[in-house]
């Protein structure tokens, strides 16, 4: 028994999972209705939209780079989709494709500038965050364009009871990207590139292409998640996703991803996202006053991460 507990808890993603479960148990005791069907449903509705962004941001962080422009892409891609379909007369699927292509292009530019001029991706994507947001505002003319009825919401957000179809997309991405990250050679290259770029390059990995791939993946997922939100709200708002970049990085870091690259896991991304959403939801359920709300969020986040580390250390000390 002990050796199994030790082996499991020593893995950062498992200890994070245990920590998440403890936090959930805590809320279940503290906040009535926290575990009610309705609330679980609401939490699961909102989960995929942040979760999909975290997948991309986290994988990019493993490859050793940042993306601060995800929040802006989260707004731009659906804006393009809505305008293309509603105003420029594209076929709905072509409209969706157009939004995603623009997201991919932003990712490519992020990567290309970062690598070609070897400037920190923090600067590139910070600049891009401003630029892309500005384009979203200009395109919308400042106002949310009307949501075209041609865009059927079924594929993205139809209500399936406990969750929406967006959850299926999330699960699909998580499985595909989890396999990619942990089981394919491409995943190995991503870890190697972020873990020790020189070593990876010396072993013949084209770290430039690996990084650009991750930048594009990250942007693509942010755009996709933005579309899901837009379908749910039925409105393409230029302010969508403001502040999302910090939230997504925070989720990845809470899930054990290293800011310096080379370390991270799919389970970690999921746990990190879940923790952020659960804390937010639990505190509202607990009827925290407006002025103290952020205090509680901050304190609980730090506490959860400390708990995680403590669990892992305890496990490692077992013999």
């Amino acid at each position: 028994m002990q050796p199994i507990v030790k082996a499991l808890l020593s893995r950062p993603e498992i200890s994070a999972l245990v920590m998440l479960i403890l936090v959930i148990i805590g809320f279940a005791i503290y906040a009535p209705n926290f575990t009610s069907y309705g609330n679980i449903r609401v939490t699961l509705f909102a989960f995929p939209e942040l979760g999909i962004v975290v997948l991309g941001v986290g994988i990019l962080m493993i490859a050793g780079e940042f993306d601060l422009s995800v929040g802006s892409v989260f707004a731009l891609a659906p804006m393009i989709m809505v305008l293309a379909t509603g105003r420029w007369g594209f076929d709905p699927y072509l409209g969706i494709a157009a939004g995603l292509v623009v997201a991919l292009a932003v990712g490519y530019i992020n990567g290309w500038i970062t690598i070609t001029f070897s400037i920190p991706s923090f600067v590139t994507t910070l600049g891009m965050m401003f630029m892309v947001r500005s384009i979203a505002v200009v395109l919308s003319g400042g106002f949310p364009p009307p949501f075209p009825s041609e865009l059927s919401t079924g594929l993205f957000v139809s209500d399936l009871g406990l969750f929406r179809s967006s959850m299926i997309w999330f699960v699909a991405f998580a499985i595909i990207l989890g396999v990619m990250l942990h089981r394919t050679n491409l995943g190995n290259w991503i870890f190697a590139t972020g873990g020790q770029q020189q070593a990876a390059a010396d072993m013949g990995i084209d770290t430039r292409r690996v990084k650009i791939f991750c930048f594009m993946l990250c942007s693509f997922l942010a755009g996709f998640a933005g579309m899901i939100t837009t379908f749910r709200l039925r409105s393409a708002i230029p302010s969508l996703g403001e502040g999302l970049e910090l939230q997504a990085i925070a989720a990845a870091v809470i899930g054990g991803t290293a800011l310096t690259g080379g370390i991270g896991s799919m389970i970690g991304f999921i746990v990190g996202t879940a923790l952020i959403r659960v804390i937010d939801n639990g505190l509202v359920m607990g009827r925290i006053d407006a002025s103290w709300f952020r205090f509680a969020i901050g304190a609980l986040t730090i506490f959860a991460v400390i708990l995680n580390i403590w669990l892992r250390r305890r496990a490692q000390k077992m013999q």
């Binding site: 906040a31 009535p32 209705n33 926290f34 009610s36 309705g38 609330n39 449903r41 609401v42 939490t43 509705f45 909102a46 939209e49 707004a75 401003f130 947001r133 500005s134 979203a136 505002v137 003319g141 400042g142 106002f143 949310p144 009307p146 209500d159 939100t229 749910r232 709200l233 039925r234 409105s235 708002i237 230029p238 302010s239 969508l240 996703g241 403001e242 502040g243 937010d280 939801n281 509202v284 359920m285 607990g286 009827r287 925290i288 006053d289 407006a290 002025s291 709300f293 952020r294």
Partner: protein
């Protein structure tokens, strides 16, 4: 040629301010003025607004329009502007003491909150306990806190005048994002039976989406808030939103320009305009939809 600068305390992505900008731009076009509207990078970052004001003054404009969401932080700079003879109009949020500006074009935030709560309370159930949720979208930000205070004042008065009924309220940090506000209101409604939700901005539209997700019918939780954006119209038509205060942002951009123009060219003194009278109900929606699509209402 006139050169006017409009300074405000919000970001370009805030839909409300795009309507102000539209009014501002069209007024400027009418008189062929050289106009600039300067937004912030971060909501409520007032020192940045002051920096922008100082930069604008260095450009020697023929008129300044500004919001006073930061209270009297501009006093010193405006005293200099006054000395230099640059006319100043307050818009959207007035100077706390009504100083340094020739006139105010906008609504009274506290009164607007009070009026909204009062109007919506007519739809509260006649019997039983009342529990009201107030969404403070920006805790510590004047525009949000003041509206919330107005709403709160009415609810407290109502409770005081109905001592036999249980009338309570609670404030949550609702956030400044349509999706986030929706999630938080939904979570709250799960845990506590709620009569009505008041938003201090237009984000009650997000609450409407989430309430539908929860399987609540229109009117099960009454929704009221401020400002008209397409999402609010949609949810008014669907019956989820009962009431919205329209402070007519277009006018907040439009009138100050003309007031400055008339003042500078014909010495007409500037005058206050109360733009915040309109309480919009679902019945008004169809009439407004056309103008709304153009961003005017």
């Amino acid at each position: 040629q006139e050169r006017f600068t409009y300074l405000l305390h919000s970001t370009p992505t805030n839909v409300f301010w795009q309507a102000v900008k539209l009014g501002f731009d069209s007024a400027c076009a009418q008189i062929d003025a050289d106009c600039q509207m300067v937004f912030l990078q971060q909501d409520g970052n007032f020192q940045e607004q002051l920096n922008n004001l100082e930069a604008a003054l260095a450009n020697n404009p023929t008129g300044i329009i500004t919001t006073f969401a930061g209270g009297n932080i501009f006093d010193e700079a405006l005293a200099r502007a006054e000395e230099a003879g640059i006319p100043i109009i307050a818009s959207n949020v007035d100077h706390p003491d009504g100083k340094y500006r020739l006139a105010y074009v906008g609504q009274n935030l506290e009164t607007a909150g009070y009026d909204l709560a009062k109007a919506l309370s007519e739809q509260f159930p006649a019997e039983g306990p009342i529990h009201v949720l107030i969404g403070v979208n920006g805790p510590g930000q004047v525009w949000s806190e003041t509206r919330a205070r107005g709403i709160q004042r009415y609810i407290e008065e109502m409770a005081a005048s109905n001592p036999d009924r249980e009338i309570t309220f609670e404030r949550i940090d609702a956030g400044l994002d349509l999706a986030l506000v929706g999630q938080r209101v939904a979570a709250y409604v799960q845990s506590t039976p709620t009569t009505a939700y008041f938003d201090t901005g237009y984000w009650h539209a997000g609450a409407a989406v989430s309430l539908r997700d929860l399987g609540k019918g229109p009117g099960e939780v009454l929704l009221g808030g401020f400002d008209l954006v397409p999402a609010v119209f949609d949810e008014m038509k669907s019956g989820y939103i009962q009431l919205s205060v329209d402070q007519q942002p277009y006018l907040q951009g439009y009138y100050p320009v003309h007031e400055l123009y008339l003042l500078n060219n014909y010495a007409f003194p500037a005058f206050d305009v109360d733009t915040g009278k309109a309480l919009i109900t679902p019945d008004d929606v169809d009439a407004l939809l056309e103008l709304s699509a153009q961003g005017i209402r």
